[in-house]
Symmetry: C5
Subunit: 99 residues, 5 copies
């Protein structure tokens, strides 16, 4: 999994029927030091994540292992909202710090 920030969402009316009702989030990938990268992914939402949330996303067939995505043609899913992470004992991100 990689960590990213939800920065937007995609609207698509004409789509495969299995995508009906799935929210599609634009996630900008951050590195382990919480610096934004140029990499992004569009991921289905399984945890009602919102704009600005730091999230974890899974890709490939693993992205179809949630109730929201089972058997659907999605190759990325947001399956957790990140509260915090640390590196070498230092807190890198803390959701409730207002950062």
């Amino acid at each position: 999994m990689l960590i990213g920030k939800v920065v937007g969402s995609v609207v698509a009316t004409r789509k495969d029927e299995k995508l009906e009702g799935r929210k599609l989030l634009v996630v900008q990938v951050h590195n382990h030091r919480n610096e934004p990268t140029e990499q992004y992914v569009v991921a289905a939402d399984s945890v009602q994540a919102g704009i600005g949330d730091m999230v974890l996303y899974a890709t490939g067939s693993s992205a179809r292992q949630t109730h929201a995505t089972e058997n659907r043609p999605v190759d990325a899913v947001v399956m957790a909202v990140v509260d915090s992470w640390d590196l070498g004992g230092d807190n890198v991100y803390e959701k409730w710090s207002g950062r």
Copy 2:
């Protein structure tokens, strides 16, 4: 999933029998700010996308989760035509804007 623009199509007469009748689109990948990149993919079409459409495509085993691609040797599928997306509250792409 990633966002791309349909820029062409591929014709192949000699092919695996499971590819019969599948339209193969050349999709140029765009980044989340809607700038074209040098990356491209050839994807099977499941939503009758046309040249110039902005689309979402899925890769890997997830690309076989549409009726058009089930059990077929394709590792990428266009499964949605994008109407619009936004980043940080700003509209990045709007299909009907004539842009």
Copy 3:
């Protein structure tokens, strides 16, 4: 899928038994403008492609969806010989043009 040119083949006597009789092609990846890249892949052949042919190959579990590759330990398959493709209305490659 990506487009590539068949530039060689690999011979291997000591191999997993499921690879017996599978032809292994060296494919050099081309970009969508038909320029060769530095990327290559070794792919099983399912369409009797030959040296010099422009082909489509699929990767991952999708590479096991042809009769030639089912349940075999191959992660790439050549599953179509390309006749032609176009970009923005212009013909980029035409098999029979002698190019």
Copy 4:
């Protein structure tokens, strides 16, 4: 698989129910000469690895082949703690050397 060092962990309260009780490690990828790279991955833990451990991780559907990760939406798993490895006859890493 790739080799990496466990450098941190991620806390997430709001997550897919199948992630309950799974420890999520931040792993920094090392190259084969044991030099840290800029690449990282968040991986589920199946071997009770700790901070500072050199580990092997697997990705994709293979990451769901341990008891800790079966059918769960995780695309990376730490499935071994590395004791040592060698390159060209030279020991590159030795857990018990205090290095």
Copy 5:
């Protein structure tokens, strides 16, 4: 698949039980002209490959299609020892040439 050279092996005592008895090889990826790259992978062995052997390896779910790797948490397998390959009619590598 990609071609690589077996340059080492990894020892791990604490590991998922399904990895017991699997030899884990360090493989340095070579390009199609047989030049070593900076890319490497740790792969399970299914053909008793040895240090110095040029090999083919498969990744992803395809890596679990050998007897040695079925249902195991490995995402790469060495499934062939390369005897030779050619490019554009020229022999690039020949195992028995002493090169």
